[in-house]
């Protein structure tokens, strides 16, 4: 099989305990495109990003980046490869002991030989792009959630990597910031020919920005197509998700025994469940 995508996933299975998060999925992500991963909460979107980043090892199957199977790389090669990749974590994950400026400078200090002047300019440009140049001397604990996420975004793109993985970049942003970030991601992608993979819940915004949408559900890839194709799809699961219908074939609930069974169970075990938060 010819390798054509910059990220190739073959026959991948991944388990948490006995629960299969992914069952034999195949995904091919094309270079230079914006691919949005969508799916109900808890289906494994973050997990998929971690598998791509090599932080989790698949139980079966393989992940190829730039045509190399990452499971077969040694630590040094993997670190080199990660220098060509930027990641925005769902929680931002700023380094709490560094200032905003130093956070954005971190990947540059690690992977480039820029002198102080060049580094300074580069960091300020990135911060300007997310509208936080004025916050450069603040510590992460003094930022709001949305600001922290924007700093993390600036940090993820600071190296101008070839692949960027964004885990919910728009969560917690006001409409203006959202529009700015959308444009930023799109501009980065168009100007530098980056490959962007981003996780999002917002259908309108995903359709606006995406070249391709991957819809995950129940451990499988439900659909992988252009936004237009998905919006006109006749597949019931795709329709349900794309149009935000509460009732349909996609289960909203975390796997559990039927409700009636639990409600009718013996009440002795209920007492055991008290406690928790006090």
């Amino acid at each position: 099989m010819a390798v054509n995508g910059i990220i190739e996933i073959h026959n991948l299975s991944f388990f948490r305990g006995n629960r299969a998060i992914f069952k034999d999925i195949d995904v091919s992500i094309a270079a230079g495109k914006i691919t949005v991963i969508m799916g109900p909460s808890g289906t494994g979107k973050t997990t998929l990003l971690r598998l791509i980043g090599g932080q989790l090892q698949p139980h079966r199957g393989e992940v190829q980046l730039f045509g190399e199977n990452i499971a077969q790389l040694n630590r040094k090669q993997l670190n080199q490869l990660r220098g060509r990749m930027g990641v925005l974590f769902q929680s931002g994950a700023l380094f709490t002991d560094l200032t905003v400026f130093e956070n954005v400078a971190f990947p540059l200090r690690e992977h480039t030989q820029l002198n102080d002047m060049q580094l300074h300019d580069r960091v300020l440009l990135k911060l300007e792009a997310v509208g936080l140049r004025g916050a450069r001397d603040l510590m992460p604990s003094h930022l709001s959630g949305g600001m922290a996420r924007r700093v993390a975004l600036a940090r993820a793109v600071a190296l101008e990597p070839e692949i960027i993985l964004y885990d919910e970049p728009f969560a917690g942003q006001d409409p203006i910031a959202m529009a700015v970030l959308q444009r930023l991601i799109k501009d980065l992608n168009d100007e530098m020919r980056l490959t962007s993979v981003l996780v999002s819940h917002d259908i309108a915004e995903a359709c606006a920005i995406a070249d391709r949408i991957i819809l995950l559900g129940e451990g499988r890839v439900l659909a992988h197509d252009t936004p237009e194709a998905l919006q006109t799809s006749t597949d019931p699961a795709v329709r349900q998700f794309m149009h935000g219908e509460a009732d349909g074939v996609i289960p909203f609930h975390f796997p559990a025994p039927p409700l009636a069974e639990e409600l009718l169970c013996d009440h002795a075990s209920v007492a055991d469940n008290r406690g928790g938060l006090q």
Partner: protein
């Protein structure tokens, strides 16, 4: 009966596996030499682990020395040999109390802070994000903290001993009137550098190793939630204290026990 034995065996195997994991973490973190900013990171940690523990060490050492001076004087004057109080204070401190008390304080002050810090870094995905920048968190985060612990505690123990001896001096000589010459003279007669001071330092080094290792491993392997971190911090203090007292007995038996 068989169930009991197999449960015990299972427990033992589990403990051994944990120990192996902890050992692996340590070896991996120390595998590579520090990089270009290694020194400044080490200095940062020496500050956090050492300088910030200094005050509590100084105060404790002073009080312990004063108590030893007072107790020693009362005890020894019953035999008319209160001039030996210097020797008693010095030997007690140098051989036992300084390494043990300083290490216990160190576990409570610096060890618990290390565990909480690393646990929180894990919970906020900072360790994961280091990894994604191609930086090994063991090397970047764990190694400088471990080295700082290893360097600081022996020095803190030396300071502890000296301050304690001066504390004893304040009580015995300045307050109770023991002749200063016999305070120092008896001490110099009795304390041997190789046998007492160096052995005390060896204890300090062993304790430093054990406490830093426990603290870092607990942080690194904790469950990344608020309960997980608080449980790991508690474990650090409890395990470190037990390990300090246990190793102290073994080392004392090896160094001073027997002929």
């Amino acid at each position: 009966m068989i169930n009991l034995v197999s449960a015990l065996g299972g427990q033992l195997l589990q403990r051994l596996a944990l120990l192996g994991q902890a050992l692996l973490m340590l070896l991996q973190s120390l595998r590579v030499l520090p990089g270009k900013h290694g020194l400044s990171r080490l200095i940062q940690q020496l500050y956090v682990v050492g300088v910030q523990s200094l005050i509590i060490m100084l105060v404790s050492a002073l009080f312990i020395g004063m108590v030893l001076g007072l107790q020693g004087y009362t005890l020894l004057s019953a035999y008319g040999s209160e001039q030996a109080v210097g020797q008693m204070v010095a030997l007690t401190l140098v051989r036992e109390l300084s390494p043990v008390v300083a290490a216990l304080l160190f576990a409570g002050r610096a060890g618990s802070a290390l565990t909480a810090e690393i646990g929180l870094m894990k919970a906020t995905e900072q360790l994961a994000s280091l990894e994604m920048f191609g930086v090994d968190p063991l090397h970047r985060i764990v190694a400088p903290r471990f080295l700082a612990g290893l360097i600081c505690l022996p020095l803190l123990v030396a300071i502890f001993s000296l301050v304690g001896i001066y504390g004893g001096h304040i009580v015995a000589v300045d307050w109770l009137g023991v002749y200063s010459g016999s305070y120092w003279g008896n001490m110099q007669q009795a304390v041997d550098f190789g046998e007492d001071v160096i052995n005390g330092m060896i204890k300090a080094l062993v304790f430093a190793f054990v406490v830093s290792w426990i603290a870092l491993y607990q942080g690194y392997s904790c469950v990344p939630t608020s309960q997980g971190i608080s449980a790991a911090t508690t474990r650090t203090v409890v395990y470190s204290s037990l390990a300090i007292l246990g190793f102290d007995f073994i080392l004392t038996a090896l160094m001073f026990g027997g002929a």
